[in-house]
Symmetry: C2
Subunit: 134 residues, 2 copies
């Protein structure tokens, strides 16, 4: 891909749905939002999501089976570091950050154990500052 990927129609629709949402969406929620645009089957969503994941434009949150638009699209994958997500169980807001030391520590473990990592998931579940003050 180039830095500004040409998206197909379905990919654009799915990406825009995620970009305008204020939190993560499930594949089926996206499907429902796009029925007016002609979407009829889950696969239309999942195929677009797969491509958008490839392009690094969105992330999958494994612990809640949902997807979010990448909040730092310019810094490409945070200089190849791992991305951590803090997910608020009250309001659903997701904060994205990367930490070089964590990235290093994980790489230290994998190299010393001969483990070839392909993808690493770091998800912190809890309650965000806003919700905690309520």
């Amino acid at each position: 891909m180039t830095s500004t990927q040409e998206l197909t129609k379905n990919q654009s629709l799915v990406f825009n749905a995620l970009a305008r949402a204020d939190g993560p969406l499930s594949a089926y929620t996206i499907l429902d939002q796009l029925r007016g645009d002609g979407f009829r089957a889950p696969l239309q969503v999942y195929r677009a999501l797969d491509k958008l994941l490839d392009y690094g434009m969105i992330h999958r949150l494994e612990s809640i089976n949902a997807f979010v638009a990448c909040s730092h699209p310019h810094e490409h994958n945070h200089s190849h570091g791992m991305i951590a997500f803090a997910i608020c169980d009250k309001c659903g807001q997701v904060s994205e950050f990367s930490d070089d030391i964590i990235t290093d520590r994980v790489r230290d473990w994998t190299t010393s154990h001969g483990f070839k990592q392909s993808k690493t998931t770091i998800e912190i579940r809890g309650v965000c500052a806003n919700c905690g003050n309520a």
Copy 2:
């Protein structure tokens, strides 16, 4: 719970299924293995799994929707540190480790952002040393 939890019949059956497996099992795989012991419905498995998770005797691997017996039952939650899992996509083997520095870095982020963390998932997907040599 005490350090050696009294398990109910269903909890024991589910825990033993995980303990004798050489890798993670899905809830439905466990169900199939326990049909001979009278298991008939998913809920019998999920209820036991929930308790075993509470007791810290097993872990849930979010990225593959599966469960493993804790490999370090004595060190109780690795002195309350987070646990990271390295999951081989070839053979399914899971290695469990904890790293105080990673734990610290995550805690630093959460405290500085007023985020009250309840559970943190770290899962490294890739290919283990054995499978990489093949």
